[in-house]
């Protein structure tokens, strides 16, 4: 009889994998994702390439020498023009904006009366640069006015970079918490997507057998429970294959894209000034150390356990729903018990766990079977005592057994019921048949 289970798994797997949408999604998705990354990177580069021409009228003649062209901004001296003429000229020449520094009696007054005219609200970093230049100049002037030695001030500035160490004396990076969050968040989110995508596939496949009316032919050869398990397993194998192809293909494509366009595969939008810090090199090394210091073995093992466990738990519910309804549209009313705990898991994960990985909320939700796969996966990078993981896994396995039994009951009755839109009450009755 177990050979029947194999046959069913094989058929489910092949029919999933042969499906045209599956093939397209498998090979197109990495292309699309990598393409998007490439596009965004490229767009940001051209966006930054555009040099902004800023005209200025410096009535004080204090800042003219400091307003030097950069990669981002080019300065045009309009100090000879009247302000109204300058405005017209900026508009007609389509310059980025006009900086107006009026002559005032005191620096205090001056600092409050500088203006920037522009068509659109000006770029934050442009303003920042200009403000920086002016503030710097005025500060230095103030120091001078107070009779302070600029050089002495410069020399007495202290630069602090606190080195973080844990109590056992190992250095950690400041990024440590972010790394943990990223690992946990990624794993939890991945699990949720996997459950929704492949759980839906299981459900569709059950509905298909019902609407095709092949179900009674199959059921006269195999036990409903075998058919259900075969479906869940076959679909998950297809899912794992798709996942592997994505990882491989995505990796290869990213590599090709990087070498082709000389792109930096690091996340976009990181402020380059941070990257240019002198201790950057050390930071990266610490970061890598941090990753290596994560409970990697526990992480990988529990990832598999919770991934498989969570998927089984949910896809048996999906199978039961598929059996209970006649079409996919009818299934909507039963989606809440699936989506609610999934969403809850993700929200608890992103708010409670990140705030306090070992708080009451995080701990409780990492025990409750429907949310535990996601929440526990997010907690594990922060270090969870083994007995907590054990309790959570035992609870999970227990509820999987219960849920598969429960779903099997509904499935067994539901697949032979046609043309009925069952209510929860009716589903409950089926349990007693």
């Amino acid at each position: 009889m177990s050979s029947n289970l194999q046959l069913i798994i094989k058929r489910e797997f092949i029919s999933r994998v042969r499906n045209r949408t599956f093939v397209v999604m498998t090979f197109l998705s990495p292309l699309i994702v990598v393409g998007m990354i490439a596009l965004i990177t490229w767009l940001t580069t051209i966006n930054n390439d555009e040099v902004k021409k800023v005209a200025f009228i410096d009535e004080t003649e204090l800042f003219t020498s400091d307003l030097k062209d950069t990669n981002e901004v080019q300065y045009v001296n309009y100090s000879n023009y009247d302000i109204e003429v300058a405005k017209d000229s900026v508009i007609s020449k389509k310059l980025y904006g006009l900086l107006y520094i009026p002559k005032k009696s005191s620096n205090k007054e001056l600092s409050e009366s500088i203006q920037f005219y522009a068509e659109e609200s000006p770029n934050f970093s442009v303003l920042n640069t200009i403000e920086g230049i002016i503030a710097n100049k005025l500060t230095n002037q103030n120091y001078k006015a107070e009779g302070l030695n600029l050089e002495a001030i410069e020399n007495s500035k202290a630069r602090i970079n606190i080195q973080i160490e844990n109590f056992s004396g190992e250095k950690t990076s400041k990024m440590s918490n972010y790394v943990k969050m990223a690992f946990g968040g990624f794993a939890g989110y991945l699990l949720m997507m996997f459950i929704i995508i492949y759980g839906n596939m299981v459900m569709r496949s059950v509905i298909e057998e019902k609407t095709n009316r092949i179900i009674e032919i199959i059921i006269s050869s195999v036990k409903p429970m075998q058919l259900m398990m075969g479906k869940i397993l076959g679909t998950s194998f297809a899912g794992i294959l798709q996942f592997l192809i994505w990882v491989l293909l995505g990796g290869v494509l990213l590599l090709i894209a990087t070498s082709l366009f000389g792109m930096d595969p690091q996340p976009v939008g990181v402020d380059p000034s941070i990257a240019l810090q002198e201790n950057n090199q050390e930071e990266i090394q610490l970061l890598i150390q941090d990753i290596l210091k994560l409970p990697l073995l526990t992480l990988v093992l529990s990832f598999f356990v919770y991934f498989i466990g969570g998927y089984f738990l949910y896809s048996s519910i999906y199978a039961a729903i598929g059996a209970a309804v006649d079409s996919e549209t009818d299934s909507q009313q039963f989606m809440l018990p699936i989506l609610l705990p999934l969403m809850l898991g993700i929200y608890v994960g992103f708010f409670a766990v990140i705030e306090n990985p070992h708080g009451t909320v995080s701990t409780v939700f990492s025990m409750i079977p429907l949310t535990s796969p996601i929440v526990m996966l997010m907690r594990i990078p922060f270090g969870v005592p083994w007995w907590e993981i054990l309790i959570s896994i035992v609870l999970l396995i227990g509820s999987i057994i219960f849920m598969v039994w429960f779903a099997g009951k509904i499935y067994r009755i539901g697949i032979l019921m046609y043309g009925k839109k069952p209510s929860y009450k009716e589903l409950f009755k089926w349990l007693k048949y």
Partner: protein
């Protein structure tokens, strides 16, 4: 004659609804057994119990003398009324898959499929998808899958629905041949003429209860009412009619003739002999027709159901 299948006092309840109430049937080996009953009588539930799709609440089923077990699945071939195939799967693959689920090895399944596909002249369908076939064509594939593993017991639920008369005949001949080769057949249908034609045994289920079971010929004997259909030639048909009406229970009969005959159905008492009737009639007229009226399965069906209402 031994029984291949015996259902003993099977009862099945769904919530408050009793689908099957203490039903027992005996299906003799090598018979074609008609399982009759109006819609919703409980036929499908009974068939599902035999197929181990549903378990009875009480009662037991024996196949070939053994209590029904999961390995008996491969001894039964079942063509359900609600039947279909995977639409996007190819005919050959699908037939192979379903045959393997019934315990055939891939090689055996292939050989036997080739035999049947050649027999029905449908070998060129092998690589087609089911969605490219018509309903009747798909039904042929389903029929082949049902009988492929050479089961001892074949259960057909409305096997002829969806077939045109020619293909229905082909299927009918195949069923008869399978019976001749030793299979036992259970037939569930509303089409009384096919029961009349094929079945030697039958059971009638109404409102979850079995109300009739036995050999078709025995049941007919039991239901016949010693009634005879006669065609008489006389000088004055009206006068003769009056005489007969006074002496017997008669009703007008209807059959085709070329002469102007008096056509009547005459019912006798249970013990009365047809010879006496014939003698009486021949003394008064020329008897051109004298037939015993045998009830059709259809008439028995309607009569017992209405009596039971």
């Amino acid at each position: 004659m031994t029984n291949l299948l015996e259902v003993q006092q099977a009862t099945k309840q769904f919530g408050d609804f009793i689908a099957l109430n203490n039903v027992s049937i005996k299906v003799p080996k090598g018979s074609i057994f008609g399982l009759l009953g109006p819609n919703g009588a409980g036929k499908t539930t009974l068939i599902r119990i035999i197929n181990q799709i549903t378990l009875p609440d009480t009662g037991s089923v024996f196949l070939d003398g053994e209590p029904l077990q999961s390995h008996h699945i491969k001894d039964i071939g079942y063509l359900p009324e609600e039947r279909g195939l995977y639409k996007s799967m190819r005919v050959g693959e699908q037939a192979l898959y379903l045959a393997q689920l019934k315990g055939l090895s891939k090689r055996d399944a292939k050989d036997r499929l080739k035999y049947w596909f050649d027999k029905f002249d449908i070998s060129h369908w092998w690589d087609k998808k089911i969605q490219e076939l018509s309903k009747g064509m798909a039904q042929k594939v389903q029929f082949i899958v049902t009988v492929l593993h050479k089961p001892k017991l074949l259960i057909f639920d409305e096997p002829f629905s969806g077939f045109d008369p020619i293909n229905a005949n082909v299927i009918k001949d195949e069923i008869l041949q399978l019976r001749d080769e030793g299979a036992t057949v259970i037939f569930s249908t509303h089409r009384m003429e096919s029961v009349e034609e094929l079945c030697d045994h039958m059971a009638l289920i109404n409102k979850s209860n079995k109300i009739l079971e036995g050999k078709v010929s025995d049941i007919k004997k039991e239901y016949k009412s010693n009634t005879f259909e006669v065609g008489l030639l006389s000088e004055d048909n009206n006068q003769l009619n009056e005489i007969l009406q006074n002496k017997f229970i008669t009703e007008p009969a209807n059959f085709k003739t070329i002469e102007d005959q008096l056509k009547l159905k005459i019912s006798l008492n249970k013990d009365a002999s047809p010879n006496d009737l014939l003698r009486y009639l021949s003394e008064r007229s020329q008897v051109v027709r004298f037939n015993e009226v045998i009830p059709s399965v259809n008439e028995i069906f309607i009569k017992t159901i209405t009596e039971n209402e």
